[in-house]
């Protein structure tokens, strides 16, 4: 069923790529720009429900540690004498990062006021987040819940987010799926206030050549197989692996962030687990 969907989308993608010269990559397939969005949506609709389950299986639970580290590194929360903050979690899908941010702000800074927007291009992924938040103190009928809003938005556009309105922009395991990454970065720059921080957690490049070999063998062979066995969806996970491999390395991505107008502190990134993942940060200067 799922297989069929993907195949048929692919056929039309091939047609499109013949018609339009502007192409992009869907994993290792070259597709028309406007198709990628649909294809990615398809992948994440397919994996939405099983997403967390697969994540755990794939990374042996390490993604949780990465996410914890990510949030404690960006240390979100209202500061003494300062104003409440506006957080924007992009490609927020299941609300994983947003929840951690709110909890961190409360625990570390006694912040129960700052606002959170969770946004994703895919209504089904966002739906998982809504469901998830209903089981927390941020459920829609609570006072705390009023701080949180969900918006279906394309990260490249964010037409519902005003200029210079956000203090923190997070994107975790999302950006490699975007069709036009530079466009998404300048959109991030647009919506952030001066001094606002762009923070990205994403799979990256293992630098040690031996480890890199082991890792790519694992990811190309084991992950799609796990996808097949655990959730009966080989192709979607094949896409995930390929998209990881295609994503620019640490230095290149840091430069893209600077090219979008952000300042970085030193190299601008930190490797996690030998570079399997990396955290990139940038700050928007006064313009």
């Amino acid at each position: 069923m799922i297989f069929k969907q993907i195949r048929s989308v692919n056929a039309s993608a091939r047609l499109h790529s013949k018609l339009y010269s502007s192409t992009t990559h869907f994993g290792y397939r070259t597709v028309a720009q406007e198709e990628k969005e649909k294809l990615v949506r398809g992948v994440f609709s397919n994996v939405a429900e099983n997403y967390d389950y697969m994540n755990d299986a794939m990374s042996a639970g390490i993604h949780r540690l990465w996410k914890d580290h990510f949030v404690s590194k960006i240390d979100p929360g209202r500061r003494p004498g300062g104003n409440e903050l506006s957080f924007l979690d992009i490609a927020g899908g299941t609300g994983d990062i947003a929840y951690r941010i709110l909890e961190h702000a409360a625990k570390e800074h006694g912040d129960f006021e700052s606002k959170m927007i969770i946004s994703d291009i895919n209504p089904e992924m966002l739906g998982e987040g809504v469901k998830r938040f209903e089981n927390t103190k941020y459920h829609s009928k609570s006072r705390q819940g009023e701080r949180v809003s969900f918006k279906v938005q394309n990260a490249e556009v964010l037409d519902e987010i005003p200029d210079n309105s956000q203090d923190l922009y997070t994107v975790s395991f999302g950006i490699r799926n975007f069709t036009d990454i530079p466009k998404a970065l300048s959109t991030a720059h647009r919506v952030l206030k001066p001094g606002g921080v762009f923070a990205c957690l994403e799979f990256s490049k293992v630098t040690n050549p031996l480890l890199a070999q082991v890792y790519s063998t694992y990811s190309f062979n084991v992950i799609p197989l796990l996808g097949q066995v655990l959730v009966g969806d080989h192709d979607s996970y094949q896409y995930l692996v390929e998209s990881i491999d295609r994503f620019p390395d640490q230095e290149t991505f840091a430069q893209m962030i600077r090219d979008a107008g952000f300042a970085t502190n030193g190299a601008g990134y930190e490797n996690l687990t030998f570079g399997v993942a990396a955290i990139h940060t940038g700050v928007k200067p006064i313009v």
Binding site: A263, N265, T281
Partner: protein, 230 residues
């Protein structure tokens, strides 16, 4: 982030490490924003301590901006230490002997801490915390190296390491002492420091076991540190 290198007796010039620190790659906007924040942090130091939020706020930036510094307050402290070390080059030395110059430079560096007021104590306990110790030792090493260089010691004999190690201990112990010193112009701190320096040169002159002395001081400094961080 923290280089957990135990090799804190490596030779590196302060200038080099100052240059490499917080050198933000330039973005489109061509401002070294991280450095700008740290500089403002130093200006506000006597008033606001090591917190970075007052600095970002006074630059008109979001409070969130401070989070680009992975070690927060400690990054400002490091920047401060580097600047202080670099400033030693402008001390007008009066002594004619290297030992005398060392003393003058150590005094100058200690007295520079006076502007920190209540925030010196916080600095010392950050420096002692296990998380930052490798960084702290590197800073201390750079300071001692600079003092030695400015005092005109070109020796590279067998006592090179212990001499630097000893001076590092004396400086660290004096700085710890200083956090509890209420005497005018930190008179007690300077005389504490002098007693250590004198004891040390006596040992050296007698060519007695410098390493004994070094061990003794390591233990003393460690105890001071422990009592401070408790």
């Amino acid at each position: 982030m923290i280089r957990a290198s135990p090799r804190f007796f490596t030779v590196r010039t302060v200038q080099a490490s100052l240059r490499s620190y917080a050198t933000a790659h330039t973005s489109k906007s061509e401002v070294d924003l991280p450095r700008q924040i740290l500089e403002r942090g130093l200006q506000l130091l006597p008033e606001h301590g090591w917190d970075l939020a007052p600095a970002t706020r006074s630059l008109g930036l979001s409070d969130q901006a401070a989070s680009i510094f992975p070690n927060g307050k400690f990054d400002l402290l490091q920047f401060y230490l580097q600047k202080q070390t670099a400033k030693l080059a402008s001390v007008q030395l009066k002594s004619s002997t290297p030992d005398g110059c060392v003393r003058e430079l150590v005094h100058a560096r200690l007295l520079a801490n006076a502007e920190l007021g209540p925030y010196l104590g916080e600095a010392v306990s950050m420096l002692m915390s296990p998380k930052y110790l490798p960084y702290s030792l590197e800073q201390l090493h750079n300071l001692v190296d600079e003092i030695w260089f400015l005092a005109g010691d070109k020796g590279h004999d067998a006592t090179w390491y212990t001499r630097r190690g000893s001076l590092a201990m004396i400086y660290a112990a004096s700085e710890s002492f200083m956090t509890r010193d209420n005497s005018p112009n930190f008179k007690h701190t300077l005389s504490f420091c002098d007693r250590q320096l004198n004891a040390w040169s006596r040992f050296e002159a007698a060519e007695e076991s410098v390493s004994e002395w070094f061990k003794f001081n390591a233990i003393a400094a460690f105890n001071v540190a422990k009592s401070l961080t408790r």
